[in-house]
């Protein structure tokens, strides 16, 4: 396995959905390739950081006026009531 083949399979490798034989090939490649070992860390970390960044921000509350806006739009929209 080379770097391109490994990176093509990285999602299956990380969520452990690849067949055992493919996983063994990936592990063998990682043991020999510091670049891909580093790539896996950064790939995983980027997604984790994104989840953390949004989890750290409280969900923005639905704007208070949304219900009234929707009812107004409904009232003004062309068509039969």
């Amino acid at each position: 396995m080379n770097c391109r083949e490994f990176i093509e399979r990285i999602d299956d490798y990380l969520d452990q959905s690849s067949p055992q034989v493919v996983r063994a090939d990936c592990d063998e490649h990682l043991a020999d390739c510091p670049y891909c070992t580093d790539y896996v860390s950064s790939y995983r970390e980027a997604v984790r950081l994104l989840r953390e960044a949004l989890a750290a921000k409280p969900d923005a509350d639905v704007p208070e006026g949304l219900r009234d806006q929707v009812l107004r739009v409904l009232d003004e929209a062309p068509g039969e009531r």
Binding site: D38, E45, L49, L50, D61, P63, L66, V73
Partner: protein
């Protein structure tokens, strides 16, 4: 999100078609938080997200008669919200996004990576003390092309399955997997570039 609609959803859809205000209030109450959250995650802006949700409801009113129930009401509302937010994204984007192909790793013919760049672990160690990583990653998200942003929000933030995302985006599950893989690679590339480009 299966293909079989629950009876109460069908009944609600019928009331939406009949323009029953209480049905719209029920949708705002039950699905509004999801719609606003998705719009906000895509747009990263309170006012734009609020406008996108309002746009989405305009679409709901206009299109509810074409709702056939092939997917659940929630899936349909996800789809409408994503489309409304995407339209807002197009309006507010002041600069062209870098094509995603430019953010993917490049390889030599033998499959080795071209210019693997700086070590992530060294980079992150060096930058951690001086950088707000959460701000950097959110900036990286907003730098991505819209398709990449959408699939990351649905799969990695909303934590929807590949099949549910496929229903919402109306693309094959294989295309969702490919798009997600490219989006994650692009997110990583933009984050690394931002960290490498920052001061010490």
């Amino acid at each position: 999100m299966g293909s079989t609609l629950r009876n109460d959803e069908l009944a609600l859809a019928e009331r939406l078609v009949a323009r029953d205000p209480s049905a719209y209030e029920a949708v705002v109450s039950e699905h509004g938080p999801m719609m606003y959250r998705v719009a906000h995650r895509l747009l990263q802006n309170d006012a734009e997200a609020a406008d996108a949700v309002q746009d989405a409801f305009v679409s709901v009113i206009r299109a509810i008669t074409s709702f056939r129930g092939e997917s659940s009401l929630a899936t349909w509302l996800y789809r409408i919200t994503v489309n409304a937010a995407r339209a807002r994204l197009r309006k507010i984007s002041t600069s062209r996004h870098v094509p995603i192909e430019d953010l993917l790793p490049r390889f030599y013919k033998d499959g080795h990576r071209v210019d693997p760049g700086q070590s992530w672990l060294e980079l992150i160690d060096r930058r951690r003390e001086h950088t707000d990583l959460q701000e950097e990653i959110l900036a990286a998200l907003t730098a991505l092309p819209p398709d990449a942003r959408v699939v990351l929000v649905l799969r990695d933030l909303e934590m929807l399955s590949t099949d549910a995302t496929s229903d919402i985006l109306q693309i094959e599950p294989g295309a969702v997997r490919t798009r997600l893989h490219r989006a994650r690679q692009a997110l990583r590339a933009v984050l690394v570039a931002r960290l490498e480009g920052g001061g010490s």
